[in-house]
């Protein structure tokens, strides 16, 4: 049997290897060709770190060892089954859920440190508390994000003085955290610690509730970064270099990703978090005049079958209706007719960056047909038809021209420049953000009402009939 200090060194070396594998894995995930091997490398690192930690835990009491194994089994089985079963369209909320679990785990570590009262070092106590605060906010905030995306919470709670209440909650939590740090060493702070975590959890809920569905990608990304930071803080407390490195890398990467997303919507992060933009009804943006003109699927199908070039703009409605396979079927049919088909993806289409890319990849759409905003925008002028499937704000020309519109300045896909625009939409109402869309009332725009999957199926029939 190895002596304690050798074991300690081996443990630390394994953590070092695990951290290296995480970074290399992330790096490999940055290219589609090596991406799967990337996540597998990171997985090997995770297995190694967990196995080595188990040898350490094995030295603990039988009761604690049993609890550790039981807890790992429960968490793994639940996550494995749910992760395998979830539909591709529901990925954003699953990521939010798993991310929240990580934040909760970081908060739990902090709680263990604070409640047990074993830690006397003020710096470490502060680290534990800050990590616990961030982790708890990320935990409850991610759960609310999950509930909203899953449709469990459909209304956004808003009231006057909300910002004041959130600020008050923040101050209270920080004050309690300060008390927990300075009082914990005295062993008299259990109530303070409980209140601290209670208010931190409440703050996460209060912060996330007013944010609208359209802003969820940014919020999930932000909580992902926050969980990373919380993990890093707890890593400092536990002297665990793997946690520090992995948590910090995720924190930094997640922050960058969050900024990229907010930038794609031409808004600052503060604006996303505090302006309640997502579902406001007050700002319909100077009034959109004109009426929407409906079209039958049969007419739309004929129009498309005899086009030269069609640009398809998918949005969240496509994800909701699980229409990605039908859309690719329609596209293949059109390509057989000699139509040039391309997909235009807005950076924030759907509920996560790249959400549409994942769905189209699932359906088997080749990369070369998919273009992002900069590539495709000049091409709309030469397109006979722009087919908008469940997208709304990302094609609203008000963002370009109407200064009073809440989305003014956001880069959009110039679908309004196409000769004809066909919009598949469930009804006449406003989209997720509650903003009127000037595109829908243009002369060349026709509305095809219905669920995206049903409507696209009808279009397939119509194109076949035309052909």
């Amino acid at each position: 049997m190895l002596d304690a200090s050798t074991l300690q060194t081996l443990t630390q070396l394994s953590y070092l290897v695990a951290a290296a594998l995480f970074i290399l894995g992330l790096k490999r995930m940055s290219s589609p060709v090596t991406a799967v091997s990337g996540v597998r490398w990171a997985g090997v690192g995770m297995l190694l770190a967990t196995a080595v930690t188990l040898t350490f835990v094995a030295g603990a009491s039988v009761l604690n060892l049993g609890l550790v194994l039981l807890a790992i089994a429960i968490g793994s089985v639940i996550a494995w089954v749910s992760g395998k079963r979830v539909a591709m369209t529901d990925m954003p909320q699953m990521i939010a859920l798993y991310n929240g679990m990580g934040g909760g785990a970081a908060a739990a570590i902090a709680a263990v440190e604070l409640y047990s009262g074993n830690e006397q070092n003020l710096v470490r106590l502060t680290m534990a508390t800050v990590g616990g605060f961030v982790g708890a906010v990320s935990f409850s905030g991610s759960l609310v994000a999950f509930a909203k995306l899953q449709g469990l919470i459909t209304r956004s709670a808003r009231f006057a003085g909300q910002k004041a209440l959130n600020s008050l909650l923040l101050l209270l939590t920080l004050a309690l955290g300060f008390m927990a740090v300075t009082g914990a060493g005295l062993g008299s702070g259990e109530l303070v610690i409980s209140l601290f975590f209670g208010f931190a959890l409440l703050l996460g809920v209060a912060m996330t509730l007013p944010i609208g569905g359209a802003d969820m990608p940014v919020v999930i990304s932000l909580y992902n970064a926050l969980t990373g930071l919380a993990v890093a803080f707890e890593g400092f407390v536990l002297d665990n270099a793997a946690m520090i490195v992995a948590g910090t890398v995720v924190g930094a990467a997640g922050t960058l990703l969050t900024q990229l997303m907010a930038k794609a919507m031409n808004r600052s992060l503060g604006n996303v978090l505090f302006s309640n933009f997502g579902e406001t009804n007050i700002a319909s943006g100077g009034g959109v005049t004109g009426s929407q003109k409906a079209i039958e699927a049969s007419d739309a199908g004929v129009m498309m079958a005899y086009s030269q070039k069609i640009i398809i703009v998918p949005g969240y409605g496509l994800a909701v209706a699980q229409a990605q396979h039908k859309v690719w079927e329609l596209s293949q049919l059109l390509i057989e007719h000699g139509v040039k088909v391309r997909f235009a993806i807005h950076p924030v289409a759907g509920r996560m960056p790249g959400h549409m890319n994942v769905l189209l990849a699932e359906a088997g759409v080749p990369y070369e047909l998919i273009a992002d905003l900069d590539e495709i925008n000049a091409e709309f002028e030469t397109a006979d038809v722009a087919l908008i499937i469940g997208a709304n704000d990302v094609v609203n020309p008000d963002a370009r021209s109407n200064k009073s519109s809440p989305i003014y300045g956001m880069p959009i896909l110039n679908a309004d420049k196409a000769k004809n625009v066909i919009v598949i939409k469930r009804g006449q109402g406003q989209g997720f953000s509650g903003i009127d869309n000037a595109l829908f009332v243009l002369d060349q725009t026709r509305m095809l009402y219905g669920d995206a999957q049903a409507a696209v199926s009808q279009l397939i029939q119509a194109v076949k009939a035309a052909g």
């Binding site: 992330l26 991406a35 990337g38 995770m46």
Partner: protein
């Protein structure tokens, strides 16, 4: 074992690493990448395991237990969904359009 200043150095270098690794990722991989980084902070599992292993009261055991369940969910769930998503990109890359 990890002293204050050394810890700050680790932190600083890790920040640069995170920025560098992500800054070259194409938009289409943003969702899988967020999912992948979500999996990587599942390393919180090892911390939760240590915290539970050293628990010495019922309250702390309960919290530690919840912590390990959540952390294992983060790690396993994060891995499963990331791998599923990335596999799709591979199959889509191999299939050629007509």
């Amino acid at each position: 074992m990890i002293d204050g200043v050394i810890a700050l150095y680790i932190f600083m270098l890790a920040v640069f690493t995170g920025y560098e690794v992500i800054s070259r990722v194409p938009v289409i991989l943003h969702t899988p990448l967020m999912s992948g980084s979500n999996f990587i902070h599942g390393i919180v599992l090892v911390g939760a395991m240590v915290a539970l292993a050293t628990a010495d009261s019922t309250l702390v055991r309960v919290i530690g237990f919840i912590g390990v369940v959540l952390a294992a969910g983060n790690a396993v769930g994060g891995y499963v969904v990331t791998e599923r998503m990335l596999k799709m990109f591979i199959s889509a890359g191999k299939k050629k359009g007509p």
